[in-house]
């Protein structure tokens, strides 16, 4: 039975839109027949602001893009600056930023899973278990650099300060505890009948469609494509590290959840390997000046951020600030297929699908 179509506005202020995301959705009864994302509510013009700041100052702008993953944002930006200006980072600095980046991945995936379960209607209980683990990581970051969310920890050439002595036992304790906490979370969620019913075979994303729409990160791997830039394009010292790359088979919401959960375990292993390989030394080479002045040219170094391929396209004219700074934002590009993925499903599936894509509005709008 067909009914009169209803067009409804969802967001920008809505608990399930993960920030200020807005959708104009047309329904036939409860079935979605059209969905248009409308974004820009958090646009701060970061790319324009970057053109008036020095290369070191821009680090603070990158924090505020994907604010659940500041460390990896810093890393993508710093790698691009280092390539542009030919800076060789110091060993200890690289290991420290890899530890920071992997801890950040655990924190970001915890947020992603927690809010996905929240969107499913399991109000707050699973989310709080995951946020509790994230809190421990934020405390570790606080020890490392004094900040919890907007870290600004990295600098061209490494990081700005060494982790203090009390950081290492706390990190070891976290690495010992976290697998057990993950087991608890898996026991609670993975085989839960309601979660399976709500996520399996919902919003299936096919391999070819995902690649054609430039979708990257856990979303691409959930569709079964073995493409992880840490493995295929090992930046920093990832070539010295071994880890598995969890892949999905169907490409539905459940696969996207599982890929993230398994990636947390792999990140823990990566941090452990980094701890074995890190050695004392300077965290940043002495000769790197405060005002980095790269020669004329351009650089783009993509990295595997928690959301997908993140890269900064920097163009230098030889000055102290970039001539152009473009952010390849995975959150924005992963939204390309939202409409195609939700059409034909029910209104309740819309939020679950949106949650499983895992976007961060700070990065979508920049």
């Amino acid at each position: 039975m067909s009914t009169e179509l209803v067009t409804m506005n969802i967001g920008p202020i809505h608990p399930s839109t993960h920030g200020v995301f807005r959708m104009r959705v047309t329904f036939d009864g409860e079935t979605i027949i059209d969905a248009e994302p409308i974004i820009g509510y958090l646009h701060r013009g970061s790319e324009k602001l970057a053109e008036e700041r020095t290369y070191t100052q821009i680090v603070t702008l990158t924090d505020r893009m994907d604010y659940t993953a500041s460390m990896t944002n810093n890393q993508a930006y710093i790698l691009s600056v280092e390539k542009l200006s030919g800076i060789t980072p110091s060993d200890r600095g690289v290991w420290l930023r890899m530890i920071a980046a992997e801890l950040q991945r655990i924190a970001a995936h915890s947020v992603a899973i927690g809010f996905l379960i929240n969107d499913l209607g399991a109000w707050h209980t699973p989310l709080l278990y995951l946020l509790r683990e994230r809190e421990k990581i934020l405390e570790l970051f606080e020890m490392m650099c004094g900040a919890r969310i907007t870290n600004s920890y990295l600098r061209p050439g490494g990081v700005f300060m060494d982790a203090p002595d009390e950081f290492w036992p706390s990190l070891n304790k976290f690495l010992d505890d976290m697998p057990n906490r993950l087991d608890d979370i898996e026991n609670l969620l993975t085989d839960n009948e309601i979660i399976l019913a709500r996520t399996q075979n919902v919003a299936i994303l096919k391999k070819e469609d995902a690649i054609n729409a430039s979708i990257t990160g856990p979303m691409l791997r959930a569709s079964g494509v073995d493409w992880d830039l840490r493995h295929r394009n090992p930046y920093d010292y990832y070539e010295k590290i071994s880890f598995r790359r969890p892949l999905g088979t169907v490409g539905d919401n459940n696969d996207r959840y599982l890929v993230r959960l398994h990636e947390i375990r792999e990140s823990l292993k990566i941090v452990e390997q980094c701890l074995d390989l890190i050695e004392p030394g300077p965290v940043k080479p002495e000769e790197v000046p405060f005002l980095v002045r790269p020669p004329e040219g351009e650089s783009y170094v993509p990295i595997e951020a928690p959301k997908g391929e993140l890269g900064f396209y920097l163009v230098s004219d030889g000055g102290i600030s970039p001539f152009r700074c473009h952010v390849r934002a995975p959150s924005l590009i992963n939204l390309t297929l939202l409409r195609d993925m939700v059409i034909g499903y029910k209104i309740a599936d819309l939020f679950v699908t949106f949650g499983s894509i895992d976007v961060n509005m700070g990065e979508v709008d920049r």
């Binding site: 820009g40 646009h43 430039s214 295929r232 394009n233 090992p234 890269g311 152009r324 590009i333």
Partner: protein, 146 residues
């Protein structure tokens, strides 16, 4: 390690059928002409397996605007950069939309139109993405005073 192709390596790939479309070579990019760019992109995607469009972006070069494409081949683990000059001068810059080749350009081309004011011919929904409809000007242009 993903191999980043140098300008002359990209030229080697393109020279067989698209030699007359190459306008200039850089260290790590090739600038092609806007005419028949879709044929060239289709060739890169289908024949050369550059199936992932990593990013589309634009630069205001003062004398002209350019659009920059970063392409990645998942099978060969290679990446390359193609640039298109949007015509001399700053008035009415436009290039052809690559949505028919890579769907991933959809939101990125809208973003470029919004912030840099470059039109993408053939884009089905060419309107502002981040700013509101009545906004005047394009903020990423160098002559936009904030």
């Amino acid at each position: 390690m993903t191999k980043v192709l140098s300008g002359s390596e990209i030229e080697d790939i393109l020279s067989s059928s698209f030699n007359n479309q190459i306008e200039s070579l850089g260290n790590d990019y090739v600038q092609i002409s806007n005419e028949k760019s879709l044929d060239l992109f289709n060739y890169l995607k289908i024949e050369q397996k550059y199936e992932l469009l990593s990013s589309v972006t634009s630069v205001d070069r003062i004398s002209h605007f350019e659009v920059v494409y970063h392409l990645t081949s998942l099978q060969k683990n290679e990446s390359l950069v193609i640039k298109i000059n949007c015509g001399e001068g700053r008035i009415d810059p436009k290039v052809k939309s690559v949505i028919s080749v890579w769907r991933g350009a959809e939101l990125q081309e809208r973003e470029i139109y919004d912030l840099m004011g470059i039109m993408f011919e053939g884009h089905p929904n060419m309107k502002r993405l981040l700013l509101w409809e009545n906004f005047e000007g394009h903020p990423l242009r160098k002559d936009f005073v904030s």
